[in-house]
């Protein structure tokens, strides 16, 4: 178990469909301290989403344990410690954008620390932060996929969760919007001191955001490397042009290239 707010992942393995089935994760051990930002990178299908679900108490691992702030992940989930941004936006089509961001407030009621007469203002401010001012009254079916994903981000932040679990939240965004949201996310985390577990396919994004980058191998997902990111926080976009940044990115990319991973190999410079 870790200090309050941290995440302890102890020997977590996950097998789908019985002993003959798919092994998605194999013996994951990872300690994340409170307020730390950890990025997870790995090839498609290696079990990143599965790991996030296990940490979030949505899925029981086949073996191993996860503790969040000293509680089991299931207990932490019941205590609404998590903000989760799913790989799909998962908005309710019958609620407008503002209604979707206010959903946690409606569900949690007084359990939401932001609950009160100005919870609507807070939601509106979050929408402004993610660049969706003026879209409050649109339905999810009327905005783009990237916009939907930003609504989902605002929704996850709206009740100030201690731990943020984010599954490729910016995958559908253009570079400029992604940069802006990356900076904003760092600012939010700096302000709230949230612990973040962030899945991405982009090594650049992982290094830019995270204190540590965890590399997973292809199925079954095992940790192949945990890299400390040597840049202090708060960070600016310029660190991406420092030689240390490119060196680390190149090193981590090397880990991703397996023999059967032709597509990635072809993207190698």
């Amino acid at each position: 178990m870790t200090s309050s707010g941290g995440i302890a992942i102890e020997g977590v393995s996950m097998q789908f469909g019985g002993s003959q089935g798919v092994t998605a994760l194999d013996g994951i051990d990872l300690n994340i301290s409170g307020g730390e930002f950890v990025a997870i990178v790995g090839p498609s299908g290696c079990g990143k989403s599965t790991l996030l679900r296990i940490v979030g108490g949505l899925l029981e691992p086949t073996s191993g344990h996860v503790y969040v702030g000293g509680k089991t992940s299931g207990q932490a989930r019941r205590d609404v410690e998590f903000g989760f941004v799913f790989q799909q936006p998962t908005l309710f089509p019958w609620l407008r954008v503002l209604g979707n961001v206010l959903l946690p407030d409606r569900v949690l009621g007084r359990r939401n620390p932001n609950n009160g007469p100005n919870s609507k203002d807070i939601a509106q401010e979050l929408l402004r932060d993610v660049g969706l001012e003026g879209f409050e009254d649109h339905y999810p079916g009327q905005i783009s996929g990237g916009m939907q994903q930003r609504v989902a981000l605002a929704r996850a932040l709206s009740y100030g969760p201690n731990t943020l679990l984010m599954d490729e939240p910016f995958g559908a965004l253009d570079e400029f919007t992604r940069d802006r949201l990356n900076l904003q996310l760092l600012e939010v985390c700096n302000k709230t001191g949230s612990t973040v577990l962030f899945v991405t396919h982009s090594i650049q994004e992982a290094i830019f955001l995270a204190d540590r980058v965890v590399m997973l191998s292809p199925r079954p997902g095992r940790i192949t490397r945990v890299a400390e990111v040597p840049f202090p926080k708060p960070r600016t976009l310029e660190i991406r042009y420092e030689p240390g940044f490119a060196a680390l990115a190149g090193e981590l990319r090397g880990l991703l290239v397996g023999d059967d991973d032709i597509e990635l190999a072809m993207n190698q410079p």
């Binding site: 949505l58 989930r77 205590d79 309710f92 089509p93 019958w94």
Partner: protein, 264 residues
């Protein structure tokens, strides 16, 4: 500005219904011509204009004395059948076991010939409203049940996970997710049921009634009064169309988000 907008919406609606109105009118004209040219006996094949005259003379009293009852039966049956179906759907979704036990019986209920059950109910309940309402309810039950069950099941596992992350109660999941996602399906079922309910009421009236459109039609058939029969058919189907469109309007009010309506 807004008046232009409004007018264009009226024009829109007119343009939308115009083709079906034109086709309908053409059919009437062809029918009229056929009756006149072939010189068929008018008591067997009344022309549209004869039926029109019948409606002009008898329409008001038919509507007040008979259609009113038929539609009362149909609407009450619709409400009863749909309410029971929605409740059953909710039970089914929460107790798979009960669904396995009772869904086959719902199918049996659906395959029972209404025309055979109606006289039975008339024997039990007499010439009252009850057997008609029950028959209309019976015929509405199945389409609403099937659609409601499907709709209540239509929530994604992601939505469940989201509610789970918010530590939402089962009750909250039900009201905030299951009910809204079922609405498009439920309305699709209700629209089917609204037209069936009128048929149910009329069939029930055939087997024993002293008023109602079904009663008028069956009585007229004994007298070979085909004009009155057609007048009854025209009135009841017009009422069915109105009922269907009322449910459609309610649907448009309830389902305002894009792509909500299943038949659009």
């Amino acid at each position: 500005m807004s008046s232009i907008r409004k007018r264009s919406r009226v024009v829109d609606v007119l343009l939308r219904v115009l083709p079906s109105v034109v086709i309908f009118a053409l059919c009437l004209v062809a029918w009229e011509l056929w009756v006149n040219i072939r010189d068929v006996p008018a008591y067997l094949y009344p022309s549209p204009s004869d039926i029109g005259k019948e409606l002009r003379d008898e329409g008001l009293s038919l509507a007040v004395d008979d259609l009113r009852w038929t539609m009362t039966e149909a609407v009450l049956g619709f409400l009863l059948g749909s309410a029971v179906a929605l409740f059953t759907g909710i039970v089914f979704v929460h107790a798979k076991f009960l669904e396995r036990v009772f869904f086959p019986w719902a199918i049996v209920l659906q395959t029972v010939p209404i025309v055979a059950v109606a006289p039975l109910l008339t024997i039990w309940f007499g010439f009252t409203l009850t057997p008609k309402v029950l028959i209309a309810a019976l015929i509405c039950f199945f389409p609403v049940l099937v659609n409601a069950t499907k709709g209540l099941r239509s929530i994604s596992s992601q939505a469940v996970e989201l509610m789970s992350i918010l530590s939402a109660s089962k009750w909250s999941l039900f009201w905030r997710v299951r009910i809204p996602s079922s609405l498009p399906y439920v309305f699709a079922g209700l629209k089917v049921a609204s037209t069936l309910s009128v048929i149910g009421a009329i069939v029930a009236e055939f087997t024993g009634a002293d008023r109602g459109i079904g009663f008028v039609i069956i009585q007229a058939s004994y007298r070979l009064d085909t004009r009155l029969m057609f007048a009854g058919i025209a009135l009841s189907s017009a009422a069915g169309v109105v009922f269907f469109n009322i449910i459609g309007a309610l649907e448009r009010l309830a389902l305002r988000w894009p792509d909500a309506r299943l038949d659009r």
